[in-house]
Symmetry: C2
Subunit: 384 residues, 2 copies
Amino acid sequence: MLTPEPPGIDYGPVDAAIDDIGAAGFVAVGGRFDPDLRYLTRFEGPERGYAFVRVPGRSVLCAPAGCVRAAEAGFDGEVTVDRVADPAGERAAAILDRERGDAAPGAVVLVPPTIPHDAAVYLEWAGYELRSTTAVAEARVVKSDGETDAIDAVQRAATAGVREAERLLAAAEVDGDELRSEGRPVTAGRLRRATNAELARRGVTGGGNTVVAAGAGTEAGGMNGTDGRIRVDDPVVVAVAPRGPYGYHGSVTRTVVVDSDGGWERRAYVAVESALDAALAEVEAGAVASAVGREADAELAAFGFDPAAVAEEAAAPGHGVGLSRRERPFLDSDAELKPGHVVAVEPGVTEPDRGEVRLSALVVVTADGYDRLGEGDPSFTPRP
Amino acid sequence: MLTPEPPGIDYGPVDAAIDDIGAAGFVAVGGRFDPDLRYLTRFEGPERGYAFVRVPGRSVLCAPAGCVRAAEAGFDGEVTVDRVADPAGERAAAILDRERGDAAPGAVVLVPPTIPHDAAVYLEWAGYELRSTTAVAEARVVKSDGETDAIDAVQRAATAGVREAERLLAAAEVDGDELRSEGRPVTAGRLRRATNAELARRGVTGGGNTVVAAGAGTEAGGMNGTDGRIRVDDPVVVAVAPRGPYGYHGSVTRTVVVDSDGGWERRAYVAVESALDAALAEVEAGAVASAVGREADAELAAFGFDPAAVAEEAAAPGHGVGLSRRERPFLDSDAELKPGHVVAVEPGVTEPDRGEVRLSALVVVTADGYDRLGEGDPSFTPRP
């Protein structure tokens, strides 16, 4: 994989929120898996919480000891060094105090609503009044070109990962009602491992997000899934959401049937393919997110499938993708789609006795439609 | 990899903390990467926060919609279903209210110090007084046999992953001062991808924790590292901390020198090997964690290496390993080692012009010493 350039960071929404109320600054605290912290710092730190402070026009990262070099490599601002035992909230308060000089106490500080409670309490002890802001979440939902490039890169790897599972299934021999390859049964676990190995070879991490669900016995997901054998006519759903450059995710869902009897799976596959096309046709700036999802549902219903049966386990028809593998805009929400939103459209149908058929496309919203990310070929999976 | 049995959950410390102050219950809120939530539920949920509630003798998981089946598969208690928009703190307050019936308001609820601030505020709005507890952190630090089995399983995969990098280096051809294999240069990125692919084949995820650092130009770590070529006499540090069954981590660090000139690297390797042995000899129940680290430092000093030069970037001599890849007990702390602590002992030396040499062992503390986890052979890497 060619690693794209580091995406920039748009502090505009945070600075605007600070300006709006004349706040002393903005503080975020979180660890390596906190998408807000990753966005604000482009730094993949340790698990324990560390602090980011924004004062008008300046950014400070309170880097945990042991990670200073990594912080300086990624972060475009001042890096200060914590000791391991320093509470992140206390460090943030010290930076705010330093920036304000001998200004009177009682200033307002903006924080994301999910800031750790202990950090919030430290800031309050230091005399700051907290007000919550969703400015970072707002900033993250619209992707810059650099962010879209990062998602495009990981999406290419994601497609290659799913293709590896398809290759294994295509090469499998039918043995009674079971599938075997190289003398061993083809299991959900084996497909998952092969998919994740291909993702790793492409330089991204499956990150525990790869799910292989076969037939009626759908895997619970993650690393602990069952390792059940796959029968010849099981629809096999392979869903990946690897994490790649700068922490951005891709998202690919495909369904393969090795030896369909041409019944339910074929009808379902045609319906879902059609629902995906119909949903994509609704995607453009200004559209309401839920209209995209509703279009998919309407198409499924036209084929005689009941979208409510799917909605029960709330497998929504799609969602945004970025530093979180699922994030705003959700395609069952009333959000307005904007240029730069990156969404996975992923309609599917489920039947308890047969299993699931699901397909996806990852697109970036444009003024008059969308551009597909990754390799962009939705139909490389042969219809059952 | 043979997946071990799911480890049990010891709610004893949480129940004791509830009893201690006659609290109404305990509430934790977090997402899929929160090690406390993972411990309390054995559930790998979505990224957005969800709530766990403990009232005396009973556990409730407020499972996010779409994850109910996965929650029920892993969790041994009541599972209730959230809608996507339900704030986790509000859900937790509703469960507490339900359990208390029409008891008077104003009860105390225990929470981890890092509970998201918005969840804490919801609980306070609902009339609960919050008190913070480290009971979950206490429960997590001592591993049960089931947890140790899970760590042992991922540790075997971790060793196999590092061996893959070693194999690639051993098979490389020397071309001037560079290494090549199959017609292409051997780079840090290529070693990292090969290591992660082997981890994936073994059913665990590198999780962005694989670091390959070669010579003086040490990689900043994670997915964004440099892809620099490796020179023949560079010491190559390969460090992995994959996530495996039930979210537990392994931890392996090895150093390989392909074609040493027998100078600094050899001295450093012998010193670090000796420091590792000396540190391990200190490991037993009742020992102070920092004594283990100090013993490593003393041994390095005896070989003429300055541990302070290492400490500057605060690469501590070791740390606990569990649902976090680095957790308590830290080997530079005054914690007392207890049976069931799992620690990575990982001394190393760094010299700006030459690079780094670091080795590790992962052990579980016993009454009179330790048992090694994983394959347990510290010296398969030939000395330079």
